[in-house]
Symmetry: C2
Subunit: 365 residues, 2 copies
């Protein structure tokens, strides 16, 4: 498997386009299109939120059909917009399909941005001819830019892999900087491949990758993209100053390992301590303790990178200045060794800074 520079434009058979439609703001790419030369199989996972946007409904209805493209807009999520919002999604994809000479239901849609405001459908429809006209195989990078909201950098990744002697490519882009586990509600990610796959195989591979490890060459490449995009999303977490890998080792079982890793990664007390360069292993122990994972305090060890702070329940004396220097790095690993079994799990997180509050308090609906 070989990592390529750039993103979506590495995958043959697709064209890309983005324009400044002015949906909410002027002078920013906010409307974009990924189109395939031929009908494709598609697979998707969607938010589990009971309140979901009109384009999510549209995608759920159409992902099982042959797909020719995805129309994407930023700055307006088309969520909580009722029947009118759904009608707008249908109208805009219908017009896109017409311009592409494709079946009406072969265009998916994805929207991100403000909630509860109707799309300016008229204005968007007027932008569609220019959008379709400008589409080109080289413009993959524009998609990564056009889908950004509070993201501070564009996220894309591409790999080449071999399968039965032939080389194929998988590439992806994503947006949705760390709003802290909102169950995918603010996340958009688009992955493309030129490998010919049966619909069922694609579904299976994709769903496995979004939950656990995969084996075959395609799944391996797909997993690499998903992992990298997940890492990039966390690295660009709102207001984050540090990227932190929480590693749980020697849990009684995998479920315990995941519970503990997630509790530590999501603890506001842990995240603020990391922001303050405070080696506050007590907060880490506390989060592991309430996670539901089986824990015996006397077997619990906690490390920041390779510096042991707690060893089998006993605090290890440390040089504060030395540990704070370690904590001041941009990349950290927090290890929680439960000493109960041989299961492990990882969870990526960031610190919580003043800027997280700023970004989310000053954003206005």
């Amino acid at each position: 498997m070989e990592i390529l520079t750039g993103g979506l434009e590495n995958v043959p058979g697709y064209v890309f386009s983005a324009v400044e439609c002015g949906i909410k703001y002027q002078n920013r790419l906010d409307l974009s299109l990924i189109a395939s030369e031929k009908p494709c199989h598609a697979a998707g996972v969607f938010t589990t939120n009971r309140v979901y946007a009109a384009p999510v409904r549209l995608c759920r209805e159409r992902t099982g059909l042959p797909v020719r493209g995805i129309l994407v807009n930023a700055t307006n999520a088309n969520a909580c917009t009722g029947d009118e919002g759904y009608a707008n999604a249908r109208r805009l994809t219908r017009e896109t399909a017409r311009l592409l000479g494709a079946p009406e239901d072969s265009i998916l849609m994805a929207s991100t941005g403000v909630i509860g405001v109707q799309l300016p459908a008229e204005k968007m429809q007027k932008s569609l001819p220019a959008l379709v006209e400008a589409a080109s195989p080289s413009k993959g990078g524009m998609i990564a830019k056009a889908i950004m909201t509070t993201d501070t950098f564009a996220k894309e990744y591409a790999v080449r892999f071999d399968c039965d002697g032939a080389a194929y490519i998988v590439a992806g882009t994503a947006k949705g900087a760390g709003m802290m586990a909102p169950n995918m509600a603010t996340l958009l990610a688009f992955l493309l491949t030129d490998m010919p796959l049966a619909k069922n195989d694609l579904d299976a591979a994709f769903r496995r990758c979004t939950s656990s490890a995969a084996l075959a060459s395609f799944e391996e490449a797909l997993l690499a993209i998903l992992k990298k995009l997940a890492e990039l999303l966390v690295r660009d977490g709102e207001g984050a100053t540090k990227f932190v890998r929480v590693v749980v080792k020697r849990a009684a079982d995998e479920a315990d390992a995941r519970l503990a890793a997630r509790a530590v990664a999501q603890s506001l007390l842990v995240k603020t301590a990391l922001f303050g360069n405070d080696p506050n292993w007590g907060r880490i122990a506390c989060a592991a303790g309430y996670s539901g994972a089986r824990i015996d305090e006397k077997r619990l060890s906690i490390l920041i990178d390779d510096a042991m702070l707690l060893s089998n329940g006993t605090p290890v004396p440390f040089e504060r200045a030395e540990i704070q220097k370690r904590l001041a790095k941009k990349d950290l690993e927090v290890t929680v060794d439960l000493g109960m079994g041989d299961a492990g799990a990882e969870c990526l997180t960031t610190d919580l800074s003043y800027d997280y509050v700023k970004i989310n308090a000053e954003y206005t609906t």
Copy 2:
């Protein structure tokens, strides 16, 4: 039921004391004692965290026995301190018992503050004679002060109630300003009454009050104290600028109502929006949506105080300046009307401000 001024000192039969021992800081009350003139029945609920402090172990062992007092220290939690920490708790309560002429196992202990540091047991033991010597029925207010950590005001409450023609008093104090639902791990609360109660009745009343409504006069008074202390704790949430009551109405059942209320109250996106005076009902809908409660978007309504922002899934146009003025108040109510049934629930919360990050990032272990 009559609300009294002050707190614990209203209850006959108890004495109180607090001293500046210098456990971690100089010139602050950090060691205190509540003692009863006669042996009492006690009931307690404790953290469910698997990592719990030495004094929690001690209390679990002794709460079922006749109790003569509670020794409380602030600034050091005696947590993650192993066998030495437990031995220190035993040693200090043994000495307190000796000074009071009480059985060794009749003294409980509670500790709050830094984790993973041994108590200065020698120094604390030397303070005990002065602590016991100074005990007086009038010093209840000193307990409320001496147990504070990041609390910005002392929390106490007392009520007088009638039962079978006699008047009794219940009073309480609590500390543990809003570290955001750490499962009681940082919370201390002490309640006293002069009503003679059988041990079993006390356990039953207390456990019912810590989960749902109660009926008898004592339970009613106890519930009033617990509710008020809970409100005071939330009002003093770290960095909080607003006190917010999240009210869920017309849920399909009570479990759904609680799920939705808790999800909205704990959402960082909702809390930061409230700090920013942003009428971001989309974040409220999002939190209710991922809570697990049954929701039909078309029946969902959201109000800030009595201003409707979303009505049966349709956004209600509002005057931004007017709503922001409403949001700028210190006391708010957010109502989520699910329109699915007739169950309701409330959850108290606060906004999330820069000061929450400051307090928790700059606090040093």
